[in-house]
């Protein structure tokens, strides 16, 4: 498995698509989540209307709100990026037929996929660390520019927040990886994953949030459970747009862990048993 992990690490490092995805994630987080938000709220337009004054709202980009701000960005654009990353890591192997070149080498199917899983776990860990660190730095710079004062959450809260961040990144990556193996097509895996994320999770969950019956189903969706985990790291001011989570954070965390395990096991099962044909 270590041999496979080393091979996967080399491939990931040399693949430009991975760096571009990472760049998009960071850029979106820092530009939209921090810089633009601060610029707009610092000098709000005349027609700006909000029950919470802009001077209070702008505090979301300050260090005290590091975790809710990062987690909120990660649950949307971050999820999409990680689905793409996971899909690319497995589906491309079928598209290029490299899966058979790999399997003819020595490691065995379980070792190959475990190497891939471990590599993706490390990537998500690094993505989480860099995203959180760069967001922390940006928030520190913004509060310095603003001339106000704000402090980072305590280390234990930061640690828990990072755990929540990594768990969600890992679930969406595993989802993409599973789709890549199931569909054996990059386009189908990415298309399917993003459709689920933006239509299944975002749209339907928002529209039918209070519909009896549907509400019970929503409680089992990974995105809804991720939001429940994120809710434990709330903003330091009361935001009028915040909905109460459908489940509590503990249930949310457990559900996410179950999804992580489920996607991993399903991917392993399919990869282990399915024949590798050609074009």
């Amino acid at each position: 498995m270590i041999a496979s992990l080393r091979a996967e690490a080399l491939k990931s490092r040399k693949r430009w698509a991975n760096w571009i995805l990472f760049g998009i994630l960071l850029l979106t987080l820092l530009v939209f989540g921090y810089v633009l938000t601060y610029v707009i709220l610092k000098n709000p337009p005349r027609n700006f209307e909000s029950p919470v004054p802009a001077s209070v709202l702008k505090r979301q980009v300050f260090p005290e709100n590091l975790l809710p701000n990062v987690l909120s960005s990660i649950s949307t654009i971050g999820a999409a990026i990680m689905i793409i990353l996971g899909s690319l890591s497995t589906a491309s192997e079928y598209g290029w037929l490299t899966v058979q070149t790999i399997l003819i080498q020595k490691p065995g199917r379980v070792a190959v996929l475990c190497g891939k899983l471990l590599n993706l776990a490390i990537i998500t860990l690094l993505v989480g660390i860099v995203a959180l660190a760069s967001a922390a730095l940006t928030s520190y710079l913004l509060v310095s520019i603003d001339g106000g004062s704000s402090s980072f959450p305590p280390a234990t809260t930061l640690f828990k927040g990072f755990g929540a961040l990594w768990l969600q990144l890992a679930v969406w990556t595993a989802f993409g990886m599973f789709l890549g193996i199931a569909f054996r097509s990059t386009a189908a895996a990415i298309g399917g994953g993003l459709t689920y994320l933006f239509v299944g999770e975002a749209l339907i969950a928002r529209l039918f949030r209070d519909t009896p019956g549907v509400k019970e189903i929503l409680k089992f969706l990974p995105g809804v459970n991720g939001s429940a985990v994120n809710a434990t790291f709330g903003l330091t001011f009361r935001s009028p747009n915040t909905n109460a989570p459908l489940v509590d954070a503990t249930r949310g965390s457990i559900t996410l862990l179950v999804y992580l395990l489920l996607f991993t096991l399903l991917a392993l099962l399919i990869f282990q048993r399915r024949d590798v044909g050609g074009s």
Binding site: A3, S4, R6, A7, L10, K11, K14, R15, W16, A17, W96, L97, T98, Q100, T101, I102, L103, I104, Q105, K106, P107, G108, V112, D275, V276, G277, G278, S279
Partner: protein, 296 residues
């Protein structure tokens, strides 16, 4: 769909075994089974002393099945580095195999920029990384120009001289004839013949004497009385005699003594193509049943 059925073949250590068959006969499916990429619904195989797809088997097996498949965004050298890591092969093997397949100069270029011939050679290089005892090459000259074909043939010759066992699949008869010690012919998923190229020829009619003589009808009557009607056939104005070629001089003397003009008398060996078509029952109106090899 049954792709391969009741197939039983043995490749001996150190030989180059040609696995011959028309497109769709089951060659690549067989090679995938032997490489552990497919799981058979029934039956078993032993590859380099172990079950296909197991670490013990794959450790001694190098293979290029169907097409050389690599990462387009990586250079040839990096692709080999990746494969070396997967197989736990020493990275010190990378440069020698690149040199062996004559890719050292282009090793730093991306795989996607490679020509078909270079891709095939990189496939062979990857197969050689583990220093395998057994090499499976599926259509290694597929898509190559004549120069590339000659180079690939030379490369296979080098590999054979290193003492490796090679299982070479192809539908190109000339390639198999020039490269392989023994041949197995597969058709519709079944092995229909196996042996050396000469054995297969002999089994399918072997050699013949071709005689061009005037007058033809008199020559035919004479030879039928001399050799028996079963051994004489007329095809497009030429007498084809299924007899031992050592009788050529005697036949010539007899015809000349009988006042028949003999303008041509030569040995014809049945081409592998004809043997192949006969064995696989593929009708080919363009193919002559006898292919000439050497004039007497």
């Amino acid at each position: 769909m049954l792709a391969v059925n009741d197939l039983n073949l043995v490749v001996k250590t150190g030989e180059v075994y040609g696995f011959l068959g028309p497109n769709g006969a089951g060659k690549t499916t067989t090679l995938r089974l032997l490489s552990g990429l497919l799981h058979p619904t029934a039956g078993s195989a032993t590859v380099a002393g172990a079950a296909p797809g197991t670490s013990a088997s794959l450790a001694r097996l190098g293979a290029m099945v169907e097409t050389p498949a690599f990462y387009p965004y990586l250079s040839g050298r990096d692709n080999l580095r990746v494969m070396a890591r997967y197989s736990s092969a020493s990275k010190s093997r990378i440069e020698p195999v690149l040199k062996q397949v004559d890719l050292a100069d282009r090793a730093r270029h991306k795989f996607r920029t490679y020509s078909t011939g270079m891709k095939q050679r990189l496939g062979v290089a990857a197969a050689l990384l583990k220093d395998p005892a057994l090499l499976i090459l599926d259509e290694p000259t597929s898509g190559l120009d004549p120069q590339g074909t000659v180079e690939m043939r030379a490369l296979i010759g080098d590999i054979r001289r290193e003492g490796r066992t090679v299982l070479l699949s192809s539908h190109l008869l000339n390639e198999v004839e020039l490269t392989c010690d023994r041949v197995g012919v597969i058709a519709k998923g079944k092995l229909v013949a196996e042996g050396t190229v000469d054995e297969l020829r002999a089994r399918s009619g072997g050699t013949a004497l071709l005689v061009r003589a005037t007058p033809l009808d008199r020559a035919q009557r004479l030879l039928e009385s001399f050799l028996g009607a079963d051994h004489v056939r007329v095809t497009e104005g030429v007498l084809a005699l299924t007899v031992d070629p050592s009788q050529a001089a005697a036949i010539n003397r007899r015809m000349v003594a009988d006042g028949i003009d003999v303008s041509e008398l030569r040995v014809s060996e049945q081409s592998l193509e004809a043997v192949f078509l006969q064995l696989t029952e593929t009708p080919n109106p363009d193919a002559s049943p006898q292919g000439e090899r050497k004039a007497l």
